[in-house]
Amino acid sequence: MDKLEAQLNKLPSAKLSLAADTKIKSRLFKAMAAQNFNRLGSLSWLALKPVGRTVAIASLAVLLLVGTSIYAYASGGVTQGSALYPLKRAVEALEETVNLSPAAKVKTYSKFSERRLQEALILSQKNTPANEQEQEVINEHIKTSLDEAADNISSVVNQAKTGAERGETEAIKQLKEKNEDTTKYLRAIEDKAQSEHNEEVIKKVNEVRDNIRQYQSILEDKAWDEDKPKSDRPEVKEPSDSKPEVEGQKIRQDIKSDQPDGRRRQEDLKAPVQPSQATELTPPPVSTDGDRTNQTNDNREDKRRERDD
């Protein structure tokens, strides 16, 4: 290989930014949803049949569509890979456009981030796929869900800041209410990924966790106390990795808490599960061998502490 060829081989490769990536994925999901709707539209030849039958079929189709949409939207079990997933995302896209105030947006994006994490958890808890390709598909879906969760969390933080700057403490209140389940899902996904030595997913989990720390910087800022007059409130701090000094902060405790016996973790995992998803959102499998379980948990905690330090 001569010098020129070596130089040409060194030409750098650019990567699509996370923002652009998310935007493109969103467009693709909308297009997928539109394709599904069009497929339903292709049944329009039925309009040529007698009027009564057409009306009956059309009504049934509308009912089915609305019912399916509601089910897809509400069900945590509808994950990437499900035929209803594009429908779920289409409804979410609609919801995103109708929420205008920062407080409403904080609530919406928090809900979306929780959903993506919930989907990632469900996908990670699927039984071992039949082959490597299937495993690869599921793995990609988990990573995509985590990417989107991270992006939604960034949006939550931005909207909370916007709300706070305008003196709308409702946005901060929403932020406080919507963070506990997030960390529980995240921890469960991480445990599962660690048990499977899935480094890619662990990396994504850490990216989400980095974004969650931005929650922390806002919640720790007691200057946003609702009782304080707006003029007394300082500007919101930029997200930082500095360690918190304020006690009683729920998120940080959840992220960093030491849980030597794994029992509380199982309880945590069960807490956010909705009755309708109970069969799918079971905790990650735990070994029945007590010594080995404790050893595994200790190792995980050691790793977690190292990373947090």
Partner: protein, 161 residues
């Protein structure tokens, strides 16, 4: 891989950076335009995904769509791209400043070459396609592609002197 919408998402994740890079190097390193073109190319691919032959690799197929989309992009607006007035346009690397300058010089010279020579060099060294893949994409014989790359390299060497 099953030809489902999920399959498409997996392909997207696999090829998004490559296609973005493909556009970036061909439109004067305009990041915004490259992002838009990447988005449009994948939307086109999604529309035609039902016609995609799953027995064949996805790479040449998506590169062909990107290539056609780029041709239309230039054709419709009669656009021209130049790098002569740009500096520090290459994506970030760990190379030293002098190495980056040298690489930028190489890229600028490639941009001045004839379209056919430029295209084979970019496909080979930037997009990392094999001669077989380039031949399939450009609808040429593999031997012809090899010869053209060799000639283009010789021309570039002359330009660099």
């Amino acid at each position: 891989m099953a030809k489902t919408k999920d399959g498409f998402t997996v392909y997207y994740n696999q090829f998004k950076h490559k296609i973005y890079n493909y556009f970036l190097y061909r439109i004067g390193f305009d990041q915004k335009a490259a992002e838009d073109l990447t988005s449009e190319a994948f939307l086109k691919a999604l529309k035609s995904f039902a016609d995609f032959d799953e027995e064949r690799p996805f790479g040449p197929w998506i590169f062909a769509i990107a290539h056609n989309h780029l041709v239309n992009y230039y054709k419709i607006a009669n656009r021209e791209t130049t790098l002569t007035d740009k500096e520090n346009f290459l994506p970030q690397t760990d190379d030293s400043a002098s190495e980056r300058l040298e690489l930028e010089r190489v890229i600028k010279l490639i941009q001045t070459m004839e379209a056919a020579d430029r295209e084979v060099l970019l496909l080979r060294f930037v997009d990392g396609l094999s001669n077989t893949e380039i031949a399939e994409l450009l609808n040429k014989e593999e031997g012809a592609v090899r010869t053209q790359i060799s000639r283009a390299m010789a021309k570039l060497r002359e330009l660099l002197k």
